[in-house]
């Protein structure tokens, strides 16, 4: 089991769907794909859609934190949605919910970002 990254642009929002297992081994591909996409001038905010993310450890937290900083530097915000129980626990333990808004699904996350922009 590895990791697939699916990117979708909806107006100024980049939707990132992660499928599989996010660890130190797969963190690089997530970092590279997201870093490149966020550099585009059209991308203002990011929704991390984690419905099919079946495993994540602290390497995943590092990548999310890195992209949050990148996005913050250009004035954007990041939201997560469809977070399973174990990923939720990890985000909670690390205090990442202080900087990430959490939503039930992509639609709710997108609606919240429309209000921001």
């Amino acid at each position: 089991m590895s990791l697939q990254v699916e990117l979708e642009h909806q107006r100024n929002v980049l939707i990132v769907r992660l499928r599989g297992e996010l660890d130190h081994h797969t963190a690089d591909i997530v970092r590279l794909r997201m870093e490149e996409a966020i550099l585009k001038s059209t991308v203002q905010h990011v929704v991390l859609s984690l419905k099919d993310l079946i495993f994540m450890d602290s390497s995943g937290l590092g990548v999310i934190l890195g992209r949050y900083k990148q996005l913050k530097a250009k004035g954007g915000v990041m939201a997560v949605c469809d977070v399973n129980k174990s990923v939720y626990r990890l985000l909670e333990l690390s205090g990442l919910f202080k900087i990430l808004a959490v939503h039930d699904n992509e639609r709710a996350a997108l609606t919240s970002l429309e209000v921001v922009s």
């Binding site: 660890d23 130190h24 963190a27 495993f55 602290s58 390497s59 934190l65 129980k85 990890l90």
Partner: protein, 151 residues
Amino acid sequence: MNETRAANTMRVTFSARSENEAFARITVAAFITHLDPTLDELNDLKTVVSEAVTNAIIHGYDNDPARFVTIEASIEDETLHLIVSDEGNGIEDLELARSPLYTSKPELERSGMGFTIMENFMDRFEVTSEPGRGTRIEMSKRIESKKALFN
């Protein structure tokens, strides 16, 4: 079935390559299958193994694939004991390394949460390390089997 039995043990040594992080957590998960752990317990253990092995690879060996990481696991009654060890760089300041959000490699986008996660997810957690000689993480956790929940 009540006679005293020697603990059930396993030991696996593998190359310090990042693709073996998934192998390591699946191996430990498979080893405890017969204890009938809950999905949450299984996930916690996989996370913990992933953290310890990742630390050994990145910090112990600076990603040198020629080096080796060892996992020893044993099951005693319903408790899993885990030892993850390397013979790498070791840790200079253990107290600093254990504090949440601290990372010795900020340039690598590490979150600094590895030790905090291991401490939180396990019942017992102990690190011993000697600079230049390696690091050894000993942990244990009681597995509350699903059967117990139904009774």
